[in-house]
């Protein structure tokens, strides 16, 4: 399956899960900031991706925000060096360059882009 074919199916999943229009689901769009996803939507997205691509997905693999709940990896609202290294290891599908500058926990959701989801699925199918 080509990246574009994966993207088109991911786009349909996100349209259904988030109630957004097709033209809003661009590759650069962030799930939270641009498409309005809330926490339960991530589970909905995982379920729909599983069904659409007939694969099993662990939510913590695709969206490992549980790392940020561990005080060992967060200090004063910023992800520590150790935490950032772990995120890089666990999120090869995401572009963390923009996040690397300030590592503000509040801005972590910006790494969850449509492109990141597409890359994650691409590696599985």
């Amino acid at each position: 399956m080509t990246e574009n074919e994966v993207f088109e199916k991911v786009r349909t999943v996100l349209e259904d899960a988030l109630g957004v229009d097709e033209d809003e689901v661009t590759k650069d769009a962030t799930l939270v900031g641009d498409l309005g996803a809330e926490s339960i939507d991530f589970l909905d997205i995982v379920f729909r991706l599983e069904k659409s691509f007939d694969i099993k997905i662990d939510q913590a693999e695709l969206f490992p925000d549980n790392v940020l709940n561990d005080p060992a990896y967060v200090q004063d609202g910023k992800v520590t060096d150790e935490g950032f290294a772990l995120l890089k290891e666990r999120m090869p599908h995401a572009d963390l360059d923009g996040f690397a500058d300030n590592r503000d926990v509040e801005e972590f959701s910006n790494v969850f882009t449509v492109q990141a989801v597409t890359r994650f699925i691409q590696a599985r199918v």
Binding site: D16, S39, F47, K51
Partner: protein, 181 residues
């Protein structure tokens, strides 16, 4: 299920389906204040069940199915109404709604159910499709995100255990809040 909205559970198959009955009575206060009319058809206003409460019934049915999958040990709360399509017919006093929930997906964080609702006229035996509803549930203890919830299971309470038992399904003593009271 801090309040019990279903009358009886007629079928409960783990990880598969839950079927429940909800009878509609003119004695319900909500029907005293909720009317539907059709001016074009010249139909006078008649009391009907609000569809928001039909969704509540579907949510309880799906919530029971989700809870049953984890032996009622999780606190299951409705998290999202993905879709709710109604056929447009009215459910008035003297009719019955039959809720069926099918488990679509479940994992540690929560579940997704696909529900159908049928309207039954007990007088004629007619059964008509009433609604199709897709729901998501959260296991709140697994999704706290820093929020605090009570330790006791405020979802599957003693009222719920009464419903389960009255419907003919066994209640495990280890999860029964009525034990020791």
């Amino acid at each position: 299920m801090r309040w019990t909205y279903l009358d009886v559970i007629t079928d409960l198959v783990k990880d598969e389906r839950c079927v429940a009955i909800r009878n509609i009575s003119l004695a319900e206060e909500v029907l005293h204040d909720h009317f539907a009319m059709d001016e074009q058809a010249g139909r006078r206003p008649v009391p009907v069940m609000p569809n928001t409460l039909v969704i509540e019934g579907a949510a309880q049915c799906g919530g029971i199915l989700t809870g049953h999958a984890r032996d009622f040990k999780e606190k299951v709360v409705l998290a999202k109404i993905g879709k709710a399509n109604f056929t447009g017919i009215s459910a008035g006093p003297g009719t019955t709604l039959r809720h069926t929930a099918h488990l679509d997906r479940i994992d540690g964080s929560g579940s997704a159910t696909v529900n159908t609702v049928e309207l039954i006229d007990p007088h004629t035996g007619d059964v008509q499709p009433y609604a199709e509803i897709e729901l998501m549930f959260s296991h709140v203890d697994q999704n706290r995100k820093g929020l605090a919830f009570p330790e006791h299971n405020f979802v599957f309470t003693d009222d719920f255990m009464d419903l389960l038992q009255r419907s003919g399904f066994p209640v495990d003593a280890s999860i029964d809040p009525r034990q020791g009271t």
